[in-house]
């Protein structure tokens, strides 16, 4: 079992490393591959909370968007490099998650979902209304991602799509490795214990509220990294990156790929992103079809792709 797991990890990473080269052969393009990686990271981050802690957050777009806006504004107004700009976005989003997390950790189930989604809207309206700084509804334009420079070594992510893909992939893989590490740590085990039986975990001395808070903050931390990458990818960000429909899309990605498997959300994101790209190029009514995907997945496929594949094995 262990060996097949490692083989699977290796296969996923190999597929990711070579994606720009076979994406064109299957009708895609490099930017689409980058979007898969970015949204995959976002969905995996959400799944840290959703799948591994069993807490239903429906407001992760807020932290995704904060990460994006933070990075975009640091580049546009402060002329920062790509990495420091992303770090600023992540810091802002994490701070927001710490504050809001403290207010909501006592909620459970649907109520947690309702509160997270409602709070997410604050940032949407700030971005929407604060025209001078955020560009309002039109989004923040007039900036481009700067190249990455370490002394003499320079990575041209500006004009070369493939370089940016690998830049995003490296960040995504580091984040994924960090999350895997956390899941396998005592902290991660206690989160899984909370998911499986909250009352029992509490009796065993796990500080449930504090752990959920921590898990929420960690999850938002990683999702804001994805948000920063997303802004850099598009050289643009608008309030839709903060809105609740994106939160819902992230949840369906996680579910579609399989919430109980580590790479599941990445697969879900890949399916979702490619499907959305394909449908929106084919028909004006792609929203209907995306909605139909939600309904069909929930009704007939609730374990997700990897959930079905790993059935029987101790996934």
């Amino acid at each position: 079992m262990k060996a097949s797991r490692l083989a699977f990890d290796a296969a996923v990473i190999a597929a990711l490393l070579t994606m720009p080269f076979w994406m064109a052969a299957v009708g895609g393009y490099t930017e689409l591959a980058t979007r898969v990686v970015v949204m995959g990271l976002a969905a995996m981050s959400l799944n840290f909370l959703l799948g591994y802690t069993g807490v239903l957050s429906f407001g992760h777009a807020a932290y995704f968007g904060l990460g994006g806006y933070g990075a975009a504004m640091a580049i546009k107004y402060l002329d920062w490099g790509a990495l420091p700009a992303m770090a600023l976005g992540v810091a802002v989003a994490t701070l927001a998650a710490i504050t809001i997390g403290a207010l909501i950790v006592r909620r459970r189930g649907v109520y947690f979902a309702m509160v997270t989604i409602a709070f997410g809207q604050v940032f949407y309206f700030i971005a929407f209304r604060w025209n001078d700084m955020t560009g309002g509804d039109d989004g923040l334009t007039g900036w481009r991602r700067p190249p990455i420079e370490f002394g003499p070594w320079k990575l041209d992510i500006v004009n070369d799509d493939k370089s940016f893909y690998y830049f995003a992939l490296v960040i995504m893989l580091i984040s994924a490795a960090a999350m895997a590490r956390l899941i396998n740590s005592p902290l991660g085990r206690s989160l899984i214990a909370i998911r499986e039986n909250e009352r029992r975990a509490r009796f065993l001395g796990v500080a449930v509220e504090r752990r959920i808070w921590l898990s929420f903050v960690i999850s938002c931390f990683f999702v804001s990294i994805a948000g920063g990458l997303y802004a850099l990818l598009n050289n643009f960000i608008d309030p839709r990156a903060l809105r609740f429909d994106l939160s819902g899309n992230l949840v369906i990605m996680a579910l579609m790929g399989g919430m109980r498997s580590f790479w599941g959300p990445l697969f879900g994101a890949a399916i979702f992103v490619v499907l959305q790209d394909y449908l929106s190029s084919r028909t004006e009514n792609w929203m209907f079809l995306i909605g139909l995907v939600f309904v069909l997945v929930v009704r007939f496929f609730p374990r997700g792709l990897l959930g079905v594949l790993w059935r029987g094995s101790a996934a």
Binding site: Y111, V115, A118, V122, N285, F288, G291, V295, V298, R299
Partner: protein
């Protein structure tokens, strides 16, 4: 200045009445079935568009009666086919399903009636202003408040004094016991869902007369309805009602002093409520979920 504030308080009450009406429907469904009906805004839009189509045939008043009923029937069908199989499961599933349903309904409405906004004709005599000094007191607004008040009174009447209402309230407390006592809880949940959607449809017709018709008409109302439920206190319908009116007024008054925070202020308020009084204004002790 004072007139401006009065205007905004009044406006806030009207908007708050919509929030409350919408939130009451959501609350009914949430309390009994544990389902957050994300498609509630889409049901509201459906009610509004059905009324638009019906008005040429049966007039405004006929549409006001018939359209919410049709919306409610559609809601019953949706509950039967899509939502019922999910009861008792992880709330994640019903949330995602209604989320997808909202996408589908909104796009279908766009497909059938077009994406651009449409004019909606309420009777002309209702649209006149009642007072030259208080220009904002149009007949339609007063009429709307009246209908909302009647609808809320009727809802509380049904819940308080009819067999169905008593069963719904009992089921909210303990559905299993209600079932053991011989009540068909499947039917109960269906009717309750239909009732909630009916209210959304009614809110849709009224909103269309005030805001005009656009496929996204429900979008701006659903989030504040969540806030209304949380501020008012989970499990309390009176709380939901108060919560809706309160956030409407707060948002209206904020529009005077700090217009760009009109929408954001209600979420700040929700944060304060969660901080100071986590169970909400009228939420019951021990029901902090």
């Amino acid at each position: 200045m004072s007139q401006l504030i009065l205007f905004n308080v009044f406006n806030g009450l009207i908007v708050g009445a919509f929030y409350a009406l919408m939130a009451l429907g959501l609350s009914l469904i949430l309390n009994l079935s544990g389902v957050i009906n994300f498609a509630h805004g889409a049901f509201l839009a459906l009610g509004a568009y059905l009324a638009y189509t019906l008005i040429p045939y049966i007039g405004f008043w006929g549409a006001l009666v018939l359209s919410p009923i049709l919306t409610g029937i559609f809601g019953l069908a949706v509950e039967r086919v899509l939502i019922r199989p999910l009861y008792g499961g992880d709330p994640l599933y019903s949330l995602l399903l209604t989320f997808g349903l909202a996408y589908m309904m909104q796009d279908a409405i766009k497909y059938i009636w077009g994406a651009q906004s449409l004019p909606f004709q309420a009777p002309a005599w209702l649209m006149k202003s009642l007072s030259s000094q208080y220009f904002f007191l149009t007949g339609y607004r007063m009429f709307m408040m009246l209908i909302v008040a009647l609808a809320v009174a009727a809802l509380f009447g049904v819940l308080g004094y009819t067999r169905l209402g008593i069963r719904i309230r009992a089921g909210t407390r303990d559905l299993e016991t209600v079932s053991t006592l011989g009540v068909n809880t499947r039917l109960l949940r269906s009717l309750n869902f239909g009732l909630g959607v009916y209210i959304a449809g009614l809110a849709g017709v009224l909103a269309a007369g005030l805001l005009g018709l656009a496929p996204t008409i429900g979008d701006n109302l659903i989030m504040p309805s969540f806030v209304a439920i949380i501020v008012g206190g989970l499990g309390s319908l009176v709380g939901t009602l108060l919560g809706g009116l309160l956030i409407g007024v707060v948002s209206g008054v904020t529009a005077v002093f700090f217009p760009s925070a009109t929408e954001a202020v209600i979420y700040v308020m929700m944060g304060l409520v969660l901080l100071v009084r986590p169970r909400g204004l009228l939420g019951e002790e021990g029901r902090v979920h």
